[in-house]
Symmetry: C2
């Protein structure tokens, strides 16, 4: 057992080994940017797959919708820079909301983020697999299997304790950015016929409008397309969670990185959107828009396969970031008593193993249910991000309000951080207000436009998660009260009754051993046996008599029973003794159990001992003693 | 829990209610004949599906092969009548072999029979479903689901304790026999143009020979066809197992019933084989030969649906007989120590529930693997029957030899039965010899001809089962030795060391309760705590001091540990105490466990208590005491 685990996961790390790697900006950018940059693999397509309903002629609108999305991204990035500067210890939406808004908003943000992290894995892995199957269409029928294998691989790596080791991340991230940028540049060169480049093949395909849409329905469709494009915003918050991973000065470096990340992500998004719109590409199930565009521009040469390969790479890395975020947030919540306590326990490799496993299972289920179709999952995706953005910005709005009241040179402590007087706090507050209102607006649009397409699932799950947080919290509070030693006097601890009950089925070495143990701790030992036939009873009495020297001063109680569930009379007897003879005292039950040394041998026994034990556990004031007799035997 | 079980399975029966119903010949025939008679649904087809390789013109051979099979059936029936007369207590192959041949042959027969019973369920249910889908071809794609549902239904009925209530059985058995007989009579009338009946449509279809076959390969093919037809023999032994179910005089009534059963089953077999051969029917996957024949003869009228409906009915009944035989034989084997002991435990409704459930699971798996195609399963099927027939006949040969040595008026006891002098014992012995040799011959033919088609599975499984019987037996013998009280003196039972170890994680009401219990039974109480940080240790020492009044005269041992698997140091400490300080004595460990009253609340705790408990169970000489603290709380 231990050996298999060690081979798979690696040798265990001592707790004291837990030191953090600090990243320079170049590597930090690679680590944190993989998630937002990778959304370029599907964001444009998410807009187009809505607009296609109007027919291929309306796909030109994608460009305008894309510009609106890009504007929102810039707004959100500038708002998050404020967060970074004020929460240098790491300010996820949960922390900011807890510090400024209170318990409920923080839990709401946490629930939104958790669903978002899960979907990050499902969406990114599915999109990554699609990048592979776009290049190799024969693999399309195995997409679900490939996606699940990818999740298993990422899970395995994370259980081994892959850290945010920037170097590994740097390769696919920069290779993707470089490859796509080059494609875009070639695309523009060819599109505008610069340098005498051969002009681009504009696809002639036509798709007729499925329905004629006008008036309110038209606006509705545009809103849906815009909401689809908002998946480009996912992952932007990652840096704010991980400020401590930067070299000093952390906040400043993080803020700079955020700006670069924004510029990079938006260049790609705007470039891809412009070109695919003007090349009249049409979304297809089997080949992604990015793949179609790259294929058309590059003519399917080496650069095409480069882009596809690193698209898959960066998407798997994006999934990997959720493996950092989900377990960390779960552990925070667990530490505050809102998640099961074992979410905080770190495994042999110092990672939050439970969180990793829970994330993998849920993400795999989503991949299965949605058959690895990331476009179908997108309606669920951006919703959580937007809600957490909005809550986080609202928290920052509050914080800025408090800062605006400080006089120059003044500084105060909040629960989590220290704030100082700063200039232009009112202006920044206004920016946060705009950010909060806009992202909340997008949340509402997403919720209403995508409700029937799947957003309802998230709308159901987030409140359920919040309710779960509250009830877990209540449970732990109750446990703490029950176990509290406040005002505890020694007579409060139940007295131990001077009685020991030993359920037996026969007199043999094992039961005699149990009886001897019982005799040592009590003067009132009662062996009880449920007999199912007169022969059994006679045999038992005969054997009891034979060992009268050992069993003297013990009572043998036989219960005749005409059914086969001998557990019932045993338990009834024990309960009667506990409730009537010795109320409010601890009754002791000694269970003679024989344990075959080979585990498989255990299936050959009736397991009565195990069943008595697990039944008695449900009754208060019963102490169970296991007196095992080991039997050295294979089956 | 109990309520759901009671609704599904019914109120529990007292053990004393177990009285057997006795059957008159008419109803006994219906009960026992369903299995052999039902094989008419596929036996002819099993022959034809081999011969079709030679092309449809060679299907005429079916008739000759069928006659050979019928001859064998008659031989086996006459041999089995001997068994019935000499083992009135019920003489399955297992009993006969145990009484006359010894342990190994009896276990071989038992293994063969168990595989046979399992296949009876899979084959009969699949064939029954095929009768349904032959009539309603649209249901063909759901055949696996229907088959599994049928198994679940039969399982459910048997768990409720359906007895061999003859009346229920009588309806489909006689309805099937009547329906098929009527079809055959109409068929003959039309075939021979008697009474001016419209002549039968002889099907014009032609299938070309797949390969040209001659010489040895031709004989091989005929043998394979014969072996296929031998499925008609399955179920013949049923009466010999159930002699006690007959009214007095049991043996005589059973023997008479056996003869009638043979006549009935063979009339149908010969009739079906003659007609389907002479009508040039060709086996098809979606429609059975019986269905084709009936459809052609009746023209698809009411009689056709009658036959199809009761074909399904009698096949499900045939499956049901395995639900009597498999659990009964398993319980016999269990009683002799060759199967897990819980196979003998009768459930709330006085049936051997474990056997029923095991049978259902394995039979369902086979249906799934073979996709409910009974023709594909047949190569596995008849093998077990033939082996058990052969062993049983050999046993009878031995018994007859002993009888032949008796003088008139003399009688002796075997282990199981009483035998008297009888006339013609030598002749009967010769009959048994022929039976044994022939069935063994068929077994060899089946094994070699069907080896690659699936018989190898059975050839593998039977020895594995026998090996399992032996190793289970060995295990129980070892357990009996280990628990034996022969020459047991009180000093042989391990002494109890005066030490109690209490693993704790913190000082709270629960751990204090455990410490108080420990103090009551020992003067040397040691609380041990694994600390993972200096803060944790300081806090623990502070709290221990606070309760110094309660904890005086107890030791607190803290172990500093730099890993998270705190189980390891706990267990190491306990083992050291047990091995070094108190060798050969029982060391007591008191585990403070808190038990949330709501089961779901338990997932919120680290389960350290449960893990310590299950780890310590593997070490000898450690007594585990659970001191539970119940916490009244929902999550």
């Amino acid at each position: 057992m231990t050996n298999i685990k060690e081979i798979l996961i690696g040798k265990q790390f001592p707790t004291s080994m837990d030191i953090h790697e600090r990243l320079d900006k170049l590597r930090a950018l690679a680590v944190f940017a993989s998630d937002p940059i990778s959304s370029n693999a599907y964001a444009t397509e998410a807009i187009m797959s809505v607009l296609i309903v109007l027919g291929s002629r309306s796909l030109g609108l994608t460009w305008h919708v894309g510009l609106a999305v890009a504007t929102l991204v810039i707004l959100v990035i500038f708002s998050y820079i404020q967060t970074i500067l004020h929460y240098p210890e790491g300010g996820g939406a949960y922390t900011v909301a807890k510090d400024n808004l209170g318990k409920f908003p923080s839990l709401l943000a946490a629930a939104a983020l958790l669903t978002d992290y899960i979907l990050t894995v499902s969406v990114s892995v599915s999109a990554g697999v699609r990048a592979v199957t776009s290049a190799f269409p024969d693999a399309f029928i195995y997409r679900i299997e490939i996606a699940i294998l990818a999740i298993i691989f990422i899970t395995w790596m994370n259980l081994r304790g892959v850290r945010e080791s920037g170097t590994v991340f740097a390769i696919p991230t920069y290779a993707f950015v470089g490859g796509v940028l080059l494609t875009i540049i070639i695309g523009f060169t060819r599109y505008f016929g610069m340098f005498g480049a051969t002009s681009l093949p504009v696809i002639e395909q036509q798709v007729q409008s499925a329905t004629s849409v006008a008036g309110f329905a038209y606006i509705w469709l545009l809103l849906r397309a815009f909401a689809g494009g908002c998946t480009a915003l996912t992952g932007i918050e990652a840096i704010s969670n991980g400020v401590q991973a930067f070299k000093r000065p952390e906040s400043k470096n993080a803020a700079t990185t955020m700006v670069i990340m924004g510029v990079m992500a938006m260049s790609l998004f705007v470039g891809i959107t412009y070109l695919s719109t003007h090349m009249s590409l049409i979304p297809e199930e089997a080949e992604s828009i990015l793949s179609q565009m790259t294929r058309a521009i590059t003519g399917g040469n080496f650069l095409y396969y480069w882009v596809q390969f690193f698209t898959a790479g960066i998407l798997f890395l994006a999934a990997n970031t959720a493996y950092q975020d989900f377990p960390r947030l779960s552990a925070f919540l667990s530490n505050d008593g809102f998640m099961p306590r074992w979410m905080q326990v770190r495994g042999t490799r110092l990672v939050f193993s439970s969180g990793i496993v829970v994330l993998s299972i849920i993400a795999s289920l989503i991949v299965l249910v949605f058959r690895a179709d990331e476009i179908a999952m997108l309606p669920l995706y951006a919703l959580g991000v937007m809600l957490s953005f909005s809550i986080s910005q609202t928290g920052m709005f509050r914080l800025m309000g408090r800062i605006a009241h400080l006089k120059p040179g003044e500084s105060i402590h909040t629960q989590v951080t220290e704030i100082h007087y700063e200039r232009g706090a009112r202006w920044k507050q206004a920016l946060n207000a705009v950010g909060a209102v806009t992202t909340f607006g997008v949340f509402v649009v997403l919720m209403s436009t995508k409700f029937l397409e799947g957003a309802w699932i998230v709308v159901m799950i987030i409140p359920l998660l919040v309710a779960m947080f509250y009830s877990i919290h209540k449970h732990y509070e109750r446990v703490a009260t029950a176990l509290s030693t406040n005002g505890l006097a020694s007579q409060d601890l139940s007295e131990v009754a001077d009685v020991v009950i030993v359920p037996i089925a026969d007199i043999h070495r094992g039961t005699l051993r149990a009886l001897m143990y019982a005799k040592r701790i009590s003067k009132d030992v009662r062996a009880i046996c449920v007999t199912t036939s007169p022969e059994m009873k006679a045999r038992l009495l005969r054997r009891w008599k034979r060992f009268s020297k050992l069993t003297r001063r013990m009572k043998l109680i036989t219960i005749e029973y005409d059914y086969r569930d001998i557990l019932t009379p045993f338990v009834q007897y024990i309960k009667r003794v506990n409730d009537e003879e010795f109320p409010d005292q601890l009754t002791t039950v000694v269970i003679p159990a024989f344990v075959p040394t080979y585990r498989i041998g255990r299936v050959l026994h009736n397991q009565t001992a195990a069943r008595i034990r697990s039944t008695l556990r449900n009754y208060k004031d019963i102490v169970i003693i296991d007196v095992p007799t080991h039997i050295d035997s294979k089956i």
